[in-house]
């Protein structure tokens, strides 16, 4: 080992340490930014060290490609709205998966040029290409769904599982064929296409509240693809970093699925929300005159003369960019001595912590944000539960309608409060496409309109003390 190689290995070790410390710091709100900076420094060290690698003989592609990618990444990260964050993460994740698959393809090209390769070379190449392609294609579909370029609801067709199974089998067959030393470029391209198709078909039937779980799962997938790429290149920093992401991403995915009382397999194969409650479900809300609507003034007065109000925000607040208006309303109520708390369901919005990020942006103090288990017993003492653009996470059908697709999912017990006020754009069902019997509850008042406009009007209508 030359001096240069030793230096390179030590630099990669330093990167690994900085990544681990970075993740550790990211565990606490006070140090999270330091964590991100540490990880970025680690990345910089790894890139700088790699520049000294003697395997690099030509620079134009690296420099031009790097600058183009960096500019795209930087500007899209800059201009994206906070509400579009989930699909942005999905897109960046897909880029990573695609890069891992391409690196493995480059290595395949290299061993093809040599003419022979052992299974120890080929197995990691094949695995990296499969996982990377699935992650790339799957992330693009997740992006398209969240960006509403295609229907966000689950897309299913008859025989879906069989088709997926067949494509899965062809992926396995091609992988085994290539790993046995058959350096056939057509088989390789076939493998890439089949794996990408599998990624697309696997994400298509997923929708509704399961989307965050899928993004997290794809994130850990890319991590694994990068780790395997590390085996391809015999590069420890790729193995360490990829594995860190793969392991932590898997854990995060399980935590999220657990919060929804669903297993990973159920998320992947259950086609959430596609099975509409057939029998025994509540009366169809869209037909009924059982829903009570209220005016802005009614609600403002009710809120102003309450002792305690619990606000349950959801994706509707994010879409309408209503977080600043919500903060204003909460501040006006507090000036009148009303106790205001926020109830954060673990999967409210499109990603775990989505609501926290938005409310933090609007300067709502942490101390006012309460997680589900903590806030649920407090609804009974609350005068008003104010639901802003949340639907499925407040649906009592999850508690008592076994035929409902969300039966068993823990929900916010908003219906235990004295009064329930629901701010909603229209009577349309939520992302999961399920009717919500909460709206027919006699103590529920509906206030229709854009969340931002409605909340601003409420904030203005609250009489000052």
């Amino acid at each position: 080992m030359s001096g240069l190689d030793t230096g390179l290995a030590l630099a990669y070790l330093l990167t690994g340490i900085l990544f681990i410390l970075g993740l550790k710091f990211l565990s606490s709100p006070a140090h999270a930014r330091t964590g991100n900076t540490l990880a970025a420094i680690g990345m910089l060290i790894a890139v700088a060290a790699t520049c000294l690698d003697r395997h690099i003989v030509t620079w134009p592609i690296i420099v031009i490609g790097g600058i183009v990618g960096a500019l795209i990444g930087f500007f899209s990260a800059r201009v994206v709205k906070m509400t579009a964050m989930p699909q942005m993460v999905a897109l960046f994740n897909g880029a990573g998966g695609g890069a891992a698959a391409l690196v493995a393809s480059g290595e395949f090209l290299k061993v093809s040029g040599i003419g022979t390769a052992s299974a120890t070379d080929l197995v990691p190449i094949v695995l990296s290409v499969i996982i990377g392609s699935i992650s790339f294609a799957g992330s693009l579909i997740a992006f398209a769904k969240l960006q509403e370029l295609m229907p966000g609801r689950p897309l299913t067709y008859p025989g879906q599982q069989v088709v997926n199974g067949l494509i899965g089998l062809s992926v396995v067959a091609l992988a085994v064929y290539l790993s046995l030393g058959n350096l056939d470029p057509r088989a390789f391209v076939g493998l890439v296409c089949a794996a990408a198709l599998l990624g697309i078909l696997a994400v298509l039937p997923i929708g509704g509240a399961d989307m965050p779980v899928v993004i997290s799962l794809l994130n850990s997938f890319t991590g694994v693809a990068v780790a395997v790429t590390g085996f391809v290149l015999s590069n420890t920093v790729l193995i360490i970093s990829g594995t860190l992401v793969g392991a932590s991403g898997t854990l995060l995915t399980m935590l999220m699925a657990k919060a929804m009382n669903r297993s990973i397999t159920n998320v992947l194969f259950g086609a959430f929300g596609s099975v509409q409650s057939a029998a025994g479900g509540p009366a169809v809300t869209s037909s009924g005159g059982t829903v009570r609507t209220a005016s802005t003034e009614d609600v403002a007065t009710l809120l102003a003369y309450s002792r305690s109000v619990i606000i349950a925000p959801g994706y509707g607040m994010a879409v309408a960019q209503a977080q600043h208006a919500v903060r204003e309303l909460s501040a006006n109520l507090e000036k009148r001595g009303v106790d205001v708390k926020f109830a954060i369901h673990p999967v409210a919005g499109r990603m775990p912590g989505h609501m926290n990020v938005l409310l933090a942006e609007a300067n709502v103090p942490y101390s006012q944000l309460h997680e589900m288990d903590e806030i649920n017993p407090q609804f009974e003492q609350a005068d008003v539960a104010l639901i802003i653009g949340a639907n499925d996470v407040t649906n009592p059908a999850a508690r008592n309608v076994p035929s409902s697709p969300i039966y068993g999912m823990p929900i916010l017990d908003v219906d235990k409060a004295q009064h329930v006020v629901v701010l909603k754009r229209s009577m349309n069902p939520g992302f999961a496409g399920i009717d919500n019997p909460l709206y027919e509850n006699p103590k529920t008042m509906m206030l229709f309109g854009d969340a931002k406009a409605t909340v601003s009007a409420l904030a203005a209508a609250v009489p000052t003390a």
Binding site: I20, L23, S27, S28, P29, G35, A39, A40, A46, V47, T50, V57, W59, I62, G65, G66, G69, A70, G73, F74, A77, R78, M82, M85, V89, L91, F92, N93, A95, G98, A99, A100, L102, V103, G106, N219, T222, G223, A225, F231, S234, N235, T236, V237, L238, I239, S241, T243, L244, V245, G246, A247, S248, G249, L251, L252, P352, E361, N363, L369
Partner: protein, 98 residues
């Protein structure tokens, strides 16, 4: 050769444990920034992209693959860290204004 693989496997297995250990104590409000940060970290694949793009192997096909890998990896790294930074900026210094 076998020895290298064994060392790599050791690193891999130990990293799995570290990955689980480091994450298990994160409060749910930081889950989104955390997912975003791990997303940026797997951008380390840029190192692999540099090695492939700089190796000048495989003629035109090789160059195209290298260039595409470089662009995608750079998007992942820069975009990932920038988005995470933006998210975390919102958590900084809460003015306790009422």
């Amino acid at each position: 050769m076998t020895e290298t693989i064994l060392v790599e496997l050791t690193v891999f297995v130990l990293s799995v444990f570290v990955g689980f250990e480091v994450i298990s104590k994160v409060p749910s409000m930081l889950h989104t920034p955390l997912m975003s940060a791990t997303n940026a970290i797997h951008g380390i694949v840029v190192v692999g992209a540099m090695l492939v793009a700089g190796a000048a192997i495989g003629g035109t096909t090789g160059s195209v693959i290298g260039a595409a890998a470089m662009v995608l990896a750079a998007i992942n790294v820069v975009g990932g860290f920038a988005v995470t930074g933006r998210m975390l900026q919102m958590f900084k210094s809460k003015p306790e204004s009422k």
